[in-house]
Every structure is written in C-alpha cells, then in structure tokens.
C-alpha cells in the first residue's frame, strides 16, 4: 500500500469509528425515552400510568384487595401531607375514592408535585386512576390546607397472588424548579 492509500484508508476507518462514537453518545440519551417506554409497557418500576377512564365494570364480589397508602414529603418541602385513610379494602372492578390531606406550614406560597409509586411493582399495571392530584401541581398559600381526592379502580385481571398493594406518594417542592409542567400525567 502506498503512503497515499494508507492515509486514505486510515481516514475512512477513523470516520466510521467516530460514527460509532457519535451513535453511542446519542444512544446514551435514547436510553431515557426507551427506559420510560419499557417501564410503561411492563409496569416494572412501580409508576402508575396516566389518567384512566372508568367504564362500568364487572365487579368481582368474591375478592378483596387491600390497598395501603403512604405519603411522604421530600427534604425542603414544608407541607404536612397524609392520607385520610391509611388502608382500604376494595373489590376489583369497583370505582373507589380516597382523600389526601395537605397543609402548607410555610408562610409563603409553595407549589407541590406528588410522584406515585406502587409496590409490588408488578401491581402497577392493574391500579388505574381516573382522578388524581398527582396529575397536576398544587399551589397552596401560606397556611392553606386542602383535601385532595383520588379515584381509582383495580383491574379484575390483577394476578391471584397479589392481595395487597401499597401506593406511596412522594411530595416535592417544585416552587422554583419545575412550576408549570406537571409530570405524573405524562
């Protein structure tokens, strides 16, 4: 191979390798939506899905599923936040309503965003919410308190071995960071 040919063939190989590098850099970012899609299809990271629509369902009267609720505030969130009922027993297919209580203990307006998570995560696909405060952000004035409704039904297809689901909400202070975009509804 002459020196000229050598240079050309080096150059074309370098270009192809740089293509791989660029492609893998983009792949790193592509993992973000891929991860979301993968988790949504399989429901394995415990995120509930967006708003569901309730149509009259066959109610399974022979089965009771226990649902417990947990509410936590993250660091830097000066709200009191708790479920008004800690545990409910529901029949699959039936539409239920529970309420959460929140009060802003700070002396300024605060915007909150709650993020849901279900355990065991395999149950996430079967808990459908038709209405949830986590679909929106809440703005509370200093000292203001609210009761927030959440309506849900359990899919009758819930696997037999799951008799107990825990739905946990983490409440974040998003006054500065993300006010305006609501996230859980995505």
């Amino acid at each position: 191979m002459s020196e000229q040919e050598q240079k050309l063939s080096n150059k074309s190989l370098v270009m192809r390798l740089l293509g791989v590098v660029g492609g893998m850099f983009l792949f790193g970012f592509a993992l973000v939506p891929l991860y979301d899609v993968f988790c949504e299809i399989t429901g394995i990271n415990g995120k509930t899905r967006g708003q569901a629509i309730y149509q009259k369902k066959e109610i399974d009267h022979d089965r009771l599923v226990t649902i417990s609720f947990i509410a936590d505030v993250k660091r830097g969130m000066p709200w009191e936040f708790k479920p008004m009922e800690n545990v409910v027993k529901v029949k699959p297919g039936e539409l239920n309503e529970v309420r959460f209580y929140a009060r802003n203990r700070a002396n300024e307006d605060i915007v909150g965003q709650s993020v849901p998570s279900i355990s065991p995560s395999e149950g996430a696909l079967y808990l459908n919410k038709t209405e949830c405060f986590c679909f929106d952000q809440q703005r509370l004035a200093a000292g203001e308190e609210i009761e927030m409704p959440m309506k849900f039904y359990i899919d009758a297809d819930l696997p037999e071995d799951i008799s107990h689901l825990t739905l946990s909400y983490q409440l974040y202070n998003v006054t500065e960071a993300f006010a305006g975009d609501s996230v859980a509804a995505k």
Binding site: Q6, S9, N10, L13, V14, L17, L18, V20, V21, G22, M24, F25, L26, F27, G28, F29, L31, V32, Y35, T42, I44, N45, G46, K74, Q113, V115, S121, E122, Q170, Y172, N173, V174, A177, F178, D181, V183, A184, K186
Partner: protein, 518 residues
C-alpha cells in the same frame, strides 16, 4: 533513518513517537497510582480502629470517591494505553501508531483532566464525595459545587481514551506487516483491539450520563430528578451500561499480558490460541447484557433478576476457558520463575479468587446480603490489584529490557513480588469476612466486632503501599542507575516480532521497512 530526535521538554511536548508516548503514559499512570494509593492510606488509617480518628466523615467520603476515580481512570486505564503504545506497533511490525498526532493529543489531555479533578480537593465544600459511581441524586441534587469540575474532568478523560482506542483499532487494522494475519497476532494485540471496541462503545455513554448530570444541575432538566418527572434509577442503568464493560476494559489487556508471559517462561506455545481469542470476544459481548447485576437490590421483577443473574454467571464460562488455557500452558512446561512469571502466576491464581467471589455476587438472592458490604470491596480489589495491576507490573518487568536495554535486579524484583503477594492478600482477604459479617462500605466508622479484620487489612495496606515504593526504586535504578546491560533476548522462551527481530533496547524508530513474518 538516523536515530536522532529533539531533546529536552520539547521532545516530550511535541513527540509523536509511540515509544515516547508509551513512556509518558506509563509514568503518568504511576504518578496517579501513588496519589490514589496515598488516598487509600488515608482510608485505611481511619479504619485502623473503630471510631473517628483522623478525618471527618465528609473528607473520608471524598477519599473513597477520589481513590476510585483516580485508580480507575488515572492509574489502570492509562497504564494499559501506555503498554499498547509501546508494544502494539512492535508486535505487528508497524513503524508507529497510525495516527501519531492524535496520539500526542490524547496523552496530553490527561494531565489537564486530572489537575481539574484533583483541584476539587481544595475547593469549598470539598471534593466529590458521592462514590466513584456518582449515583444521582447524590451527585446532582446533593453534590458539592466541585462536582462540575469532576464532570469536566470525566469528559476530558473520556475524549482521551476514545482517541486512544480509535488509534489502536486503526493501527491494528491498517498497519500490520505483510503476512501478519489477524490470527497470527500476539494475544496482547487481540485483547487490546477488543478493549478498544469496548471503549468506543461505552465511553460515549458515560459522556452522555455526565452531560445529563450537568444539565440536571444547572439547566433545569430532570433526567434523574423525580420531582420533574425523571428517575434516579435511570441513572444507575445508564451508569452500569458503561460500568460493567468498563471493568473488562481494565482487565482484558492484563489477560493479554498473561498470555504472552506464561508461554515465554513455560517455554511452550500458548495452549488454545484461537479459543483465547474467541473467549475474549465473548466476554466483551456478554459484558453488554449484564449491567443490572449491580442493581439487584434496587427493585426489579423476578424475571429481570433471573435474566441478569444467568447472563452474568455465563461469563464464568469464557473466563474459565482462559484460566484453563493458562494452566494448560504451564502443564509439563520447563518453567522458570523470574519476576514477570511470578507476577503472571499470581495474577492467574488471585484473579480467579476475584472471579469466584464475582460468581457469588452474581447470584441475585445472596447478593441481597453482600450488596454494598466489604465483600464487594474485597471482590473488585481482587480483580483489580492482583488482576489489572499485577498484570501491568508483570508486563513492565518482562518488557523493561526491551524498552531500556538494561536488566532490573532480579533479587529486588522477587522481593517486590513476594512482599506484594503477602500484603495484597493481607489487605483484601479479611475484607471478605468483614463483608460477609455485614460491614458496610464507604463509612468511616464501624462496629467493634469488625475491629480485628480491619486492623489486619490496614497493616496489609500500609505494607502494600510501601512495597510499591520499592517498585519505583527498582525502576529508577534500572533506567538511570547502575544496572546490568540486557542481551538482545534476555528471556529464551520469548516469542514475537519485538523479541525475534529487534535488539534491546529497541531503537527509537523500528520497522521503517516492514519485517518478514513467518
């Protein structure tokens, strides 16, 4: 061609010679090895007894973090690139690396990258303190201000190793001497090409991860922030997609070194050359589908745990093939035990111990006990110190006569080996036990019940650290001090173009006309 070249500082700044650049890489990595080692001494001093003695917890966390980063990116990876620079052109009969200017550049980025990283030690809020794995949100929401210097540093070292990897691939594909077919290449070259492909596949993903961290910290994105719709678990997936292949990036070249040295001192051909090549390639391929074995306790469906558990345990098969081949090469050979061979044999034995604890960690149900304990620390130090670092050390002793034309002192070399061998086990073996008993990693204080194991480990670590100063002394004495001249072929079992067709020391320019390959 005449054997003259510029001298003084300019020679090193502007050099495009693969041997100069190889030497600079090796010395750079040794400096980093000493700095990272000093940090390990701080850690072991603090852990010598329970309670808080010398440093405050935040600084302790900075030490574990910086020790990991410096050793992985500053000591092990550059030392392997240094060996590649010195050896690959000579072993395939090429006059130099294919892209000599880029070669210069990829080295000279490193001192700047690590100056940035090390400067964070002197900043307000301290150096990065979230562990070398920099999980979000520890490194995003709660990271100290110096985290941004860390991000820039990681970007720079990433660019450096990508350029180094591209250089290796182009050199091996385009610059081989006529007759040097792929399946005739020495195994060191093979393992390095495969390493280079791993590097260009995963270093860009790491670059993506730190870029996302940067935008999460400063530009209002929320890739890893649940409040904004992101997910911190996503960070772990992206990180380990890079992280698991990264551990093979650190060890594969050492596999290559062992596969050169063991046949030379057993005076036999390497057993199962082609199976070695295929085993290395399959280890590399499998490394892309096992990353979540670092995340068994994060929460995964049973199907996921099973998949990653089985895929991980599958890696033991090609690795077992390699260990079998090394042992079979020694079987009935006329072995002698000079320093490089001692380090290579210790490499095989101790790396295998690290491999076994790796198989234990691969089992999802028991990983729940081992996760984040000293058992994990014991495991990866067994594959990194007596694995990657013994591999590099063996290579340095083996090729030192080729590089310098002089012979190291065999007595001192053996002393270096035996002290390293004793202290490396004294340091890391007790960690298996404290880990199984439940001692968590990355914490400056511990329960009284772990005191004895930690005292042993600390004594071992101080000895191991001092022993490496002996290594430095041996190198200085050989290169600049009084040392015996080496014959052109100091190892009678050595094979390969660099031993058969070049004198010791190898001239500044080699193979300007391609050699004949039989």
């Amino acid at each position: 061609m005449a054997d003259h070249h510029p001298t003084g500082l300019k020679r090193w700044l502007f050099t495009t010679n693969h041997k100069d650049i190889g030497s600079m890489y090796l010395w750079f990595s040794f400096v980093m090895f000493i700095i990272g080692g000093a940090m390990a001494m701080v850690i072991r001093a603090e852990l010598y007894q329970p309670g808080l003695q010398f440093v405050d917890p935040n600084f302790f966390n900075s030490m574990t973090t910086m020790h990991g980063l410096i050793m992985v990116f500053g000591a092990v990876m550059p030392s392997m690139v240094g060996l590649a620079n010195w050896l690959i052109p000579m072993q395939i009969g090429a006059p130099d690396m294919a892209l000599p200017r880029m070669n210069n550049w990829s080295f000279w980025i490193l001192p700047f990258a690590f100056t940035l990283l090390l400067s964070s030690l002197f900043m307000d809020g301290g150096a990065p303190n979230f562990g070398w794995t920099f999980y979000a949100p520890l490194s995003t929401t709660y990271g100290p201000p110096s985290t941004d210097f860390f991000i820039l540093g990681v970007h720079m070292m990433g660019i450096s190793s990508i350029m180094g990897a591209i250089n290796v691939i182009v050199t091996v594909f385009n610059m081989r001497a006529p007759g040097m077919t792929l399946m005739k290449m020495p195994l060191f070259v093979w393992t390095w090409v495969i390493t280079a492909f791993l590097l260009i596949m995963v270093m860009p993903v790491l670059a993506g991860a730190v870029t996302m961290m940067l935008t999460d910290r400063h530009f209002g994105t929320s890739f890893f922030d649940a409040a904004g719709g992101g997910d911190p678990v996503l960070f772990q997936h992206i990180f380990w997609f890079f992280g698991h292949p990264e551990v093979y990036i650190m060890i594969l070249p050492a596999f290559g070194v062992a596969s050169e040295i063991i046949p030379a001192f057993a005076r036999k051909k390497l057993f199962g050359y082609s199976s070695m090549v295929y085993a290395t390639a399959s280890i590399a391929l499998l490394s892309f589908v096992v990353w979540a074995h670092h995340m068994f306790t994060v929460g995964m469906p049973v199907a996921g745990e099973l998949f990653f558990m089985i895929a991980t345990m599958l890696i033991a098969v090609p690795t077992g093939v390699k260990v079998f081949n090394w042992v079979a090469t020694m079987w009935q050979g006329s072995m002698t035990f000079e320093t490089p061979m001692l380090f290579a044999i210790a490499f095989v034995i101790l790396f295998t111990i690290g491999g076994f604890s790796g198989v234990m960690l691969a089992m999802a149900p028991v990983d729940f006990q081992y996760h984040d304990t000293y058992f994990v620390v014991a495991h990866f130090h067994y594959v990194l110190f007596p694995g990657a670092i013994f591999g590099t050390t063996a290579a340095v002793y083996y090729w030192l006569p080729k590089w310098t034309g002089k012979m190291y002192n065999e007595k001192l070399g053996k002393l270096h080996f035996w002290l390293s061998m004793i202290f490396v086990n004294l340091t890391f073996f007790p960690m298996h036990f404290s880990g199984l008993a439940g001692m968590p990693r990355r914490i400056p204080d511990y329960n009284m019940m772990f005191a004895d194991f930690n005292q042993l480990a600390s004594i071992g670590a101080f000895g191991l650290g001092l022993t490496q100063i002996l290594f430095l002394a041996i190198l200085i004495k050989t290169i600049w001090g009084k040392a015996e001249k080496s014959s052109d072929k100091p190892w009678d079992g050595a094979t390969g173009l660099e031993w058969e067709q070049l004198p010791c020391p190898a001239p500044y320019h080699t193979f300007d006309t391609p050699p004949k390959v039989s």
